[in-house]
């Protein structure tokens, strides 16, 4: 899709369900409003070869020359719309001597804490324990960023969370929690995701006088009558909660506003025909659906990206997540070793051993693929006009990675790349080292094993391949505060996101210092460094 999908002029015009005025005294918003701001997260597991991923410049204006030698070269056409926050650390790192987080598992505690900044429970103080409860099934004690934002901006709603390749997550790979110990599964099948969006399509400007409009209002009224009737019976609290939640969804339905571009034509323009969507929907029998071409150059992963774009256009949710699967075999890329083992430069789940042949080449192949997929997402978002710019301009599209270097599993110097200013909130065209503005921050040590110049014996225990823990430790919590403020989330007097809040968000999570996670919550909650990163904001 090399051309603008729609000419400017549709602007931010939104269409409100025309039966709104008759329902519940809820106000109808004006026909022309500012375009919605949204967060689109792309999340991949097992980090990357950081030496090739990071550009040499860690602070300053980005130029195509900065990206061309790197894995991110696919993003050069969008250089002016990129923001690379550097110097950031994610929380709750696993180490063999337990000095930077809990002792549960290299992945369970990291993914559990990544977007929650809360420890996982039950805690383990033995990093080599194989207790299933702590190693495989521990979950964070609070909600993740996607839910915190969504609950704030759309009470009673949930983020659009897409599990690519329709792979189920366990606590060892899950990143979305609607509450403490409550794993949010989201949606996996493209056909289901598509069906959830087609229901939002506008058939064109709706008149309050049509039967279709009347049908919409009456059906909601009948559903509400039904729930009211059920509510009159004596039943358990959990059953009452179900009814309440459903009624909240009805309220939400009545306040929906959709862009006029949210329609079947837009879906088709994005390649989202029913046939293509079905082709990208796995049968449950395995196979590398992500790299399989569905139509032309669009592969299975691109179908999910286009669903995210459609969801953005339709304002299906303020937070849209594209979660790539863990332990995946990218057969279509010629990589037959599953990605978790490969990140360790091995063909098994060990932490040490002899390098698998071509280990770094295969990891780089996957890194390159992810970069292509992110560039495709960005391109699609930028191809649709919205307001005075494009959908990308009203979006913060962020590629997060679980860890920095996949072997060391270090969480400092975490690779993050953002596209879009989220309505002008963020500075773009820059790499910003939020820690100390140094332009020469380390790119890590990903190639000290398995490269022609490195050792053939992998050491995944002592973190020699990561980044020295002395550097790049600015807490990711503050970046999350940036994102929440950009989307319009408000905080209470304590700085945490809160219903009916009016202040800027300055705090997120239980801890913002990775060492505080040791003990799994035994230390009183504390945010040492509140506030967002001012350096990331547009001036």
């Amino acid at each position: 899709m090399n051309r603008r999908l729609f000419l400017r002029g549709l602007g931010g015009a939104c269409v409100a369900a025309p039966f709104l005025s008759s329902l519940g005294g809820r106000a109808v918003r004006a026909e022309s409003v500012a375009p919605p701001r949204r967060l689109i997260v792309m999340f991949t597991h097992y980090g990357c070869i950081t030496t090739r991923w990071f550009p040499g410049k860690s602070h300053g204006p980005l130029t195509p020359d900065d990206l061309l030698p790197t894995t991110l070269n696919h993003l050069t056409p969008f250089i002016d719309k990129l923001l690379m926050p550097r110097g950031i650390r994610a929380m709750n790192e696993w180490t063999f001597d337990m000095v930077r987080g809990q002792g549960n598992d290299q992945h369970t505690q990291v993914v559990g804490s990544y977007f929650t900044c809360q420890p996982v429970s039950p805690n383990s103080s033995d990093p080599f324990s194989f207790d299933s409860a702590t190693k495989f099934n521990a979950m964070p004690v609070g909600p993740s960023l996607d839910h915190v934002i969504t609950q704030q901006l759309r009470p009673g709603s949930t983020p659009l969370f897409m599990r690519l390749a329709n792979r189920n997550d366990t606590p060892q790979s899950a990143i979305s929690y609607s509450a403490g110990a409550t794993l949010f599964p989201g949606l996996g099948s493209p056909s289901q995701i598509f069906a959830s969006l087609t229901g939002l399509f506008q058939a064109g400007p709706m008149s309050p006088d049509t039967y279709q409009t009347f049908r919409g209002k009456s059906a909601i009224d009948i559903f509400r009558d039904d729930l009211d009737t059920l509510e009159r019976y004596d039943m358990s609290q959990s059953d009452k909660n179900k009814l309440e939640a459903w009624k909240a969804l009805l309220d939400q339905t009545t306040t929906m506003m959709r862009s006029a571009q949210c329609n079947a034509e837009m879906a088709t323009a994005l390649g989202l025909t029913q046939a293509n969507v079905n082709a990208a929907s796995t049968s449950g029998l395995g196979g590398d659906i992500l790299t399989t071409k569905v139509a032309g150059d669009m592969d299975g992963a691109d179908v999910y990206s286009n669903l995210a774009v459609l969801a953005a256009v339709c304002d299906a949710s303020p937070v849209i997540v594209l979660k790539y699967p863990g332990s995946y075999v990218y057969e279509g890329l010629g990589v037959r070793t599953e990605s978790a083992s490969l990140a360790h430069r091995l063909d098994n789940a060990g932490l040490s051993g002899t390098c698998v042949p071509r280990a770094l080449d295969m990891i780089l192949t996957i890194d390159d693929y992810y970069a292509q997929k992110f560039a495709y997402l960005v391109k699609q978002l930028d191809a649709i006009d919205e307001g005075d710019g494009t959908v990308l301009d009203n979006t913060a599209a962020v590629w997060f990675q679980e860890v920095s270097d996949g072997l060391a599993c270090n969480l400092n110097n975490i690779p993050i790349i953002q596209a879009g200013s989220c309505g002008g909130y963020f500075k773009t065209g820059w790499a910003v080292n939020v820690e100390d503005a140094s332009p020469t921050l380390s790119q890590g040590n990903s190639e000290i094993f398995c490269s022609p110049d490195g050792s053939d014996m992998v050491d995944g225990i002592h973190q020699a391949s990561g980044t020295d823990p002395k550097y790049a430790n600015a807490p990711i919590n503050k970046y999350y505060c940036n994102l929440m403020n950009a989307l319009g989330v408000k905080a209470g007097p304590d700085g945490f996101a809160a219903a009916n809040g009016t202040a800027e968000v300055t705090k997120f999570g239980m801890y913002d210092k990775t060492e505080d996670f040791i003990g799994g919550g035994s230390i009183s909650p504390i945010i040492h460094d509140p506030g967002e990163y001012v350096a990331l904001k547009a001036t």
Partner: protein, 607 residues
């Protein structure tokens, strides 16, 4: 040499069972020991990917059992439950295997499962697939089955699917299934609302409800008759009382509450047909003829004889065998077709289909628990025949019901569908097969695994059998504790290669040794020497542990939740019948409907 090493491992058998925590009757959905066992050479490090080598009794963790410590000022609320075991409840904290008389508390608002949704739409409207959705089933458009409150995604999908179905029905050939009168006639819509509502809500609509639906006929800007009909149908299909199966009766019987006849009819039809009641069952409910156990039994037996019950038996078979997304049944089907030329990707679907067909054939036709493990019936087509040593040219694409060699192919666990998926790409997997039998069939619980060894012996070409290699890999004391009792059933099945064909010689070059000391019960943990698949299947069929575990799985399937201590009384009764020679599996379902908990409910929070 290999034999000696294995005997040595068994030498620690009794001593380490305690450390391994073996016990029986593990509650479904209790988390599992995923990732704990080595599934093949080279695994067992500190754990990075977490791929599960051991089939657990239920997917999901112990969400809902933990107590979260609130966060720090975040406002996200409830959301969906964590998906432990069953959507409508989890295991309680008490010993679920000890009988504690009483009626378990259940949700009064269970949501219809997606598989049932398809059947309901078929039975109400004659629609099985949706043309506007490329021939997909209606449930393909729905959110996956989940418990707790409805999410925004799920609600949107219910509405969207209802809209699609309603439009296709009213504009297509199935319109008369919904609208059997002239819509311009005065009472047509009113009659339709009452008649269709009776079936869709599984009870007569109240006058208030009828009036509520009639609003759709009184628009300021009148719709066409088809528009109105479509609106009514859409609204029914997206109504909470359609999507949920409410149980609201309030008459008491001792300390419990009696379900109404309509609610009993609904429980019966969703249990046995996974759909709405038919006319006869609705008539029985209308006439108050589902009050007594005898009345319920009469309807149960009628329904079990109906072919609509076949799908239930298949579904139960899948639940019992843990055929589910992410399980080895669906992820372990890829094999090296060069090393195993009898196997092609075309065999994958029919091999699983054979397991379904076998289970349905045995159970629907009056077979017993024993028959599940010993029947020689097979279902073969041209893609699978060679795996059984049959001539593919004699078979077509459809299944042919055949009798297989009774010594080589006794029961469902010697079908290639099981053997080929519980294997590796290039080799058999005695650990996977053995663990499945020990945990899933015998109900033994290995408990949490011990810490892994610091170093495993590397795979080597020196081993002449897969068993030899596995025994060496699992010989360290930390491994042997569990593997010593998990693996032996898999060693007995080493007579089947990675794709399920019979073998006397291992691809590594050695002769197959199919003799092993199998632990059939955790109480007392005394192993039995078994020398052939037929001996193993005979032992499983006669194992009290396996029989009780089967009864427990049946109760779990029928109730839609993990069994608790109150269910254990029903499990005990069913287990006695499972033990009875020749007792039909289908009659166990009739027995289940005779339990008080089937026609009564209690007030309180479901566990």
């Amino acid at each position: 040499m290999m034999k000696k090493r294995y005997r040595a491992a068994l030498g620690v058998f009794s001593a380490v069972l305690g450390a391994c925590g073996v016990s029986e009757h593990r509650p479904q959905g209790s988390g599992g020991s995923s990732g704990s066992m080595t599934g093949g050479a080279g695994t067992g490090g500190a754990g990075t990917g977490g791929s599960s080598a051991v089939p657990s009794a239920g997917d999901g963790g112990a969400a809902g059992k933990r107590t979260g410590r609130g966060g720090t000022g975040q406002t996200a609320s409830g959301g969906t439950s964590g998906g432990a075991g069953s959507p409508e409840g989890g295991a309680g904290e008490t010993d679920p295997s000890a009988c504690s008389p009483g009626i378990p508390a259940t949700s009064q608002l269970p949501r219809m499962k997606n598989a049932a949704y398809d059947n309901v739409i078929r039975d109400l409207l004659g629609v099985s697939t949706l043309a506007s959705a490329e021939g997909q089933k209606p449930s393909d458009l729905l959110y996956p089955d989940s418990g707790g409150a409805l999410t925004a995604d799920a609600w949107r999908l219910y509405q969207g699917t209802a809209s699609t179905i309603a439009h296709e029905v009213i504009t297509g050939s199935k319109k008369a299934q919904f609208l059997s009168c002239d819509p311009t006639a005065p009472d047509c819509f009113s009659d339709t609302i009452k008649s269709f509502g009776r079936k869709a809500f599984r009870r007569p609509l109240t006058e208030t409800e009828v009036a509520s639906f009639l609003r759709l006929t009184n628009a300021p800007s009148p719709g066409t008759p088809d528009e109105v009909a479509e609106a009514i149908l859409y609204t029914f299909l997206a109504s909470p009382s359609f999507i949920m199966l409410p149980e609201l009766g309030a008459d008491r019987e001792d300390d419990a509450i009696k379900l109404t006849s309509y609610e009993v009819a609904t429980r019966l039809s969703f249990l046995l047909w996974n759909s709405v009641p038919d006319g006869a069952l609705n008539d029985a409910a209308d006439n108050g003829e589902l009050e007594s156990k005898a009345q319920i039994l009469a309807q149960t037996q009628r329904m079990l004889n109906d072919t609509r019950a076949q799908a239930m038996f298949t579904a139960f078979g899948r639940a019992y065998l843990a055929v589910a997304a992410g399980s080895h049944w669906l992820t372990g089907a890829d094999h090296d077709s060069t090393a195993f030329p009898k196997f092609t990707p075309a065999a994958v679907a029919p091999l699983l289909g054979e397991v379904d067909a076998f289970f349905q054939d045995v159970t629907f036709n009056g077979g017993s628990f024993r028959d599940l493990f010993l029947s020689d019936v097979g279902f073969v087509n041209r893609d699978t025949a060679a795996l059984y040593g049959l001539d593919p040219a004699q078979f077509g694409s459809d299944f042919t019901r055949v009798q297989l060699d009774a010594n080589q192919r006794p029961g469902v666990l010697t079908r290639a569908g099981f053997l080929s998926t519980f294997s590796h790409y290039t080799s058999s997997a005695p650990v996977l097969r053995g663990a499945f039998i020990s945990i899933r069939v015998l109900g033994l619980d290995p408990g949490p695994p011990p810490p892994p060894p610091s170093q495993l012996p590397p795979p080597s070409d020196a081993y002449t059998t897969e068993r030899d290699l596995v025994a060496a890999l699992t010989a360290p004391a930390q491994c042997a504790g569990c593997h010593a009792y998990l693996d032996p059933p898999g060693f007995v099945l080493e007579h089947y290669d990675a794709v399920g064909s019979w073998q006397d010689m291992d691809p590594r070059g050695g002769a197959i040794d199919g003799t092993a000391d199998v632990l059939l019960s955790g109480d007392p943990p005394t192993p039995t020497t078994i020398s052939s698949p037929l001996e193993l299947m005979t032992a499983l069929a006669g194992s009290e542990s396996a029989q009780r575990h089967f009864a427990e799985q049946l109760v779990a399937y029928a109730s839609g939740r993990a069994p608790n201590a109150m269910d254990a009384c029903t499990v005990d009764k069913l287990a006695q019948n499972v033990k009875t020679d020749g007792y039909a599996v289908r009659d166990l379902f009739a027995d289940y409907t005779q339990a008080d908990s089937f026609r009564l409910r209690s007030v309180g929070e479901a566990p």
